[in-house]
């Protein structure tokens, strides 16, 4: 792990500013956002959140508190029942279906279940993301090995997912999310399937990526990790935003 960190330090300069203290332009703005899947019960109720470019934010809460809905609304997989969402300059309410792909090219995604293609190697999995948005072979052949080196997998770029550990698979998934250098990285329970030690490695990796200027949002219920990282915490409970705190902890949301 320390090996990886030293390598990352060579690539990524230390941040010059604390993002929260010195707010940059807005990456995410949610105004009075509500989502109801069924008529009377709200999955999210009247959410107001602003995230500046370059921030590192945890979204915490129990299962069913609305974390996933929150993330999926930013991806425009879920459309809010009311309210306004602006992500990376796109007003999602006005975004045409045909333009959604271009929004998503600005957002990297990491999931609990990795979502890797089993019949493709680590290299091919990452390359696939570039291939399908029309990048040339040259770009693929230079960027993919670089990003796999960044996540610490340079020795395993031609291994298939079943030949990799859970942590390594999640690293491939992070590499895929980051290979296009998106300004925003969304993670939905990225450490949900991993042991604490491996989780810490992934979290540090995400923090390093954040230091390159990538706004990072992580939905999680991993208390230890949130308490350890001391970053901004947004707590959701039954669809309500109950806490928004800089350098926060998981806290007692019961």
């Amino acid at each position: 792990m320390t090996d990886l960190e030293s390598r990352l330090d060579q690539i990524v300069p230390e941040p010059q500013f604390s993002p929260r203290a010195n707010r940059g332009p807005l990456m995410i703005s949610m105004k009075n956002v509500s989502k109801r899947y069924v008529a009377n019960r709200a999955a999210l109720e009247n959410i107001n959140v602003e995230v500046a470019a370059g921030e590192f934010v945890f979204i915490v809460g129990h299962s069913g508190s609305g974390k996933s809905t929150f993330i999926r609304m930013l991806l425009r997989e879920v459309i809010p029942s009311s309210g306004q969402i602006i992500v990376a300059g796109h007003d999602l309410g006005r975004l045409k279906n045909s333009k959604v792909p271009y929004l998503r090219r600005n957002i990297g995604c990491v999931f609990q279940d990795f979502k890797l293609l089993p019949n493709k190697t680590a290299f091919e999995n990452v390359a696939f993301a570039l291939q399908v948005i029309g990048k040339s072979k040259h770009v693929i052949n230079t960027q993919v090995p670089e990003v796999l080196r960044l996540v610490g997998l340079e020795g395993k770029i031609h291994n298939y997912p079943h030949e990799l550990s859970g942590g390594e698979q999640q690293r491939v998934s992070v590499a895929r999310a980051f290979v296009n250098r998106p300004p925003l990285l969304l993670c939905d329970e990225p450490t949900g399937n991993l042991d604490p030690q491996t989780s810490l490695g992934i979290m540090k990796l995400l923090e390093r990526i954040n230091r390159t200027g990538t706004t990072t949002l992580i939905a999680t219920h991993d208390q230890e990790m949130v308490n350890y990282m001391r970053q901004r915490v947004i707590a959701l409970d039954e669809g309500q935003l109950v806490r928004d705190q800089d350098r926060g902890v998981y806290g007692n949301v019961d």
């Binding site: 279906n97 792909p101 929004l103 696939f128 993301a129 399908v132 040339s136």
Partner: protein, 304 residues
Amino acid sequence: MSINLGYFFSEAATSFRRNWVMTFGGIATIFLSLLLMGSALLMNSLVTDMTRDVESKISIKIWIHDEAEDADIDALHSQLLATENVASVVYFTKDMAMERFTEMMKDSPQIIEHLQDNPLPRSLEIELVDTQEIEGVLTIIRASEEFSRIANPPDNPEAALDYGEGIVEVLLDATQTARYVGMVFVGILAVVSLIFINNTIRLAIYARRNELSIMRLVGASNGFIRTPFVLEGVLQAVIGALLAILVLLGVKSFLFPGLQETLAFINFDFSNALMTQIALILLATGVAIGILGAVIAMRRYLKI
């Protein structure tokens, strides 16, 4: 763009191989429906030719009784000549009628010899411009006073009118019915092949749903996601269409010459222009069905 083209074709080909049973079903149904459609088009051209042939031979004959006044005949003659849709009116005298009859009976001259005097009536024979509009001319004739005076037999003027009553109507009706039945069959088969292709593409989509969800996640455009599947649908349709065209050409070259000898009164000699036209129609219809089937199958998956 060059890598994209390669990507699209290889994706389509892979899926083609993977689901070859369904693919075969898709090709077979589209082949059958297009073959039927091609046959219907050929049949249509055949029947149209035949009707036109029969129609062009239709004329109105007015039989004139022997005591009729020449003045009445002349009056009707000139009235008809002035009537719309009448191409020509020819007056047949008894001698001309006899001549024609003799000509018709030349294989059995004894019938002519047995005739004492000329029993054949005189007639006015009317050629029409448009045989479809025969009723208008008939109405004018029936309303004419001269006609009722010269009609043979005088007590039943309708019997004096001879225009192959009903033959055309029956023929046209039959053709029309055949056309409708053919269209319904072709329509049903087209829908069946649409459903088949739709299903094949759906299976292909299902087999690759993980890839598709990742493609959508990383922002592949809808066109990019859709193209391999549409290509697959089109490929099936084109193969089916080409098979149907080949079979039709085979029938034309090998089956029709034989039929022509047996059924000499039907013209089986289709022009190359007609065959090309039919081939193009089949190909276009096939491709349309292929694209439509794939696009319908994709629709659900491309909703965000």
